[in-house]
Amino acid sequence: MLRSCAARLHALGALRGLPGAARPPARSPGPARRSLFLEADFHKDSSLPKPSWSKDMRLLFDQFMKKCEDGSWTRLPFYSYKAVQNVHDFIAFIHGSLPSTAKLVDKEQLSQAQIFTESFKDGLGFEYVMFYNDAEKRTVCLFQGGPHLQGMPGFLHGGAVATMIDATVGMSAIKAEGLVMTANLNINFKRPVPLCSVVVINSHLDKTEGRKLFISCDVRSVDETTLYSEATSLFIKLDPEKNS
């Protein structure tokens, strides 16, 4: 399974560079790495403070931006998937190496594709920004879940919380090892998250064993007094050189 996934995600490895200045490139050059998250295109940065952000969100954002001043923390920018120029390379790769899967990948749909967490109009869905601390191997995500993410009336859908946990721990994994894939996600929900409130998802790389990365995180209220969820995850580092 892992080798076939490595084949599928080979191109993703080329797409996902190591964003952020914090980490020097540790690999030999190989095919040019073009980041999925384009650094240069500031106009499309959907993380900058937006009208839909609540007061809590802005306050926290400012606090973390202050922490970035001495370089220990970095803000991670996110851009709409449409800005990625190399999606065509990926399509070609998939068609070449996985013809039966490729039949199912609709090119027309791909042109409309958006990364799941970016698919919502301002304020209605996932509003988030992530900060990374390389020394502590820690990723913090400030997340404001909008009205279209409802589960039980008035509360955030468990799946929306799970998605943001996956995104945050995934970012810790990517920063640590580059090309990775989620293997396991284990989430304990302690309290339901009220819709439109702000939560802090704090994830930490606990240990690495060979190609396995163990990452845990918790989801807390802004004042840290309420623990909403706890999660542990396992990521597998994929080696793009190995092909099935």
């Binding site: 990926f90 698919s119 009205p147 039980m152 396991n184």
Partner: protein, 244 residues
């Protein structure tokens, strides 16, 4: 049933705000709770006549696999004891006449709040799904077709979207099988990626029903069962809804 709900509510008010970390909700008297049988829950959940739009119906975006499997299950609803669950825009529509226990009820009811899995309105772009339930076997099948807005790795569904679909199906089945209301935990193991626009079949079983908790398992796989996408187990908290 109403009196016990009120007793529970009174206990909550006595404690002031929601109790602290140890217990999020009051323990309901076990002997009293959960008088509603699955059949009565199902008949309430699936109204004969309603003005509400049912989103779990075939549309132009459904792939041929999804359409044909849907028809197969529709046939089974005629004689084999299967029920097709309607899917409305908000969970509020599913529990008309009832509300969450007062400790949990949201303070305001906003009309722009939408169920996460039904908030992307354009056909085929987000979550396309239909859930079938077998009340006596306590089994369920969800036909899930992720659209381009649910992308993670280019061309494939985001792990968070699959987790969301599983959590959503779990929540409906938990409710019908035993008044399960809130996700307590989810443990998901990802095996393979789901190509955007293809059909994933989610098979859910209710494993165990305890006093306060309901345990379910899910296997997500391709129609021919040759590819397993993920395995997931979930635990839900059983809670009675109150009359409005």
């Amino acid at each position: 049933m109403i009196r016990r709900g009120l007793q529970g509510a009174a206990r909550l008010r006595h404690h002031g705000a929601l109790p602290g970390a140890a217990r999020i909700l009051p323990r309901l008297n076990p002997a009293s709770a959960f008088g509603s049988s699955t059949d009565s829950l199902v008949s309430r959940f699936c109204p004969e006549k309603t003005d509400l739009k049912d989103y779990a119906l075939p549309n132009a975006s459904w792939c041929p696999d999804m359409l044909s499997l849907y028809q197969e299950f529709l046939e089974k609803t005629k004689a084999d004891g299967w029920v097709k669950l309607p899917s409305f825009k908000s969970n509020r529509d599913h529990i008309q006449g009832l509300k969450l226990p007062s400790g949990l009820a949201a303070t305001s009811d906003k009309s722009d709040w939408r169920l996460f899995t039904r908030c992307i309105p354009v056909e085929g772009q987000g979550f396309e799904y239909a859930i079938f339930f077998h009340p006596s076997k306590k089994k369920s099948v969800c036909l899930f077709q992720p659209g381009p807005y649910l992308e993670g790795a280019p061309g494939f569904a985001h792990g968070g979207s699959l987790t969301t679909m599983i959590d959503e199906t779990f929540s409906k089945i938990a409710f019908l099988a035993g008044e399960g209301l809130l996700t307590l935990s989810l443990n998901i193991k990802f095996k393979n990626l789901i190509p955007v626009g293809s059909l994933a079949v989610l098979n859910i079983d209710v494993e165990k029903i305890e006093d306060q908790k309901l345990y379910m398992s899910c296997v997500a796989q391709s129609r021919d069962q040759k590819t397993i996408y993920a395995k997931c187990s979930g635990v839900f908290l059983r809670l009675q809804l109150e009359q409005e």
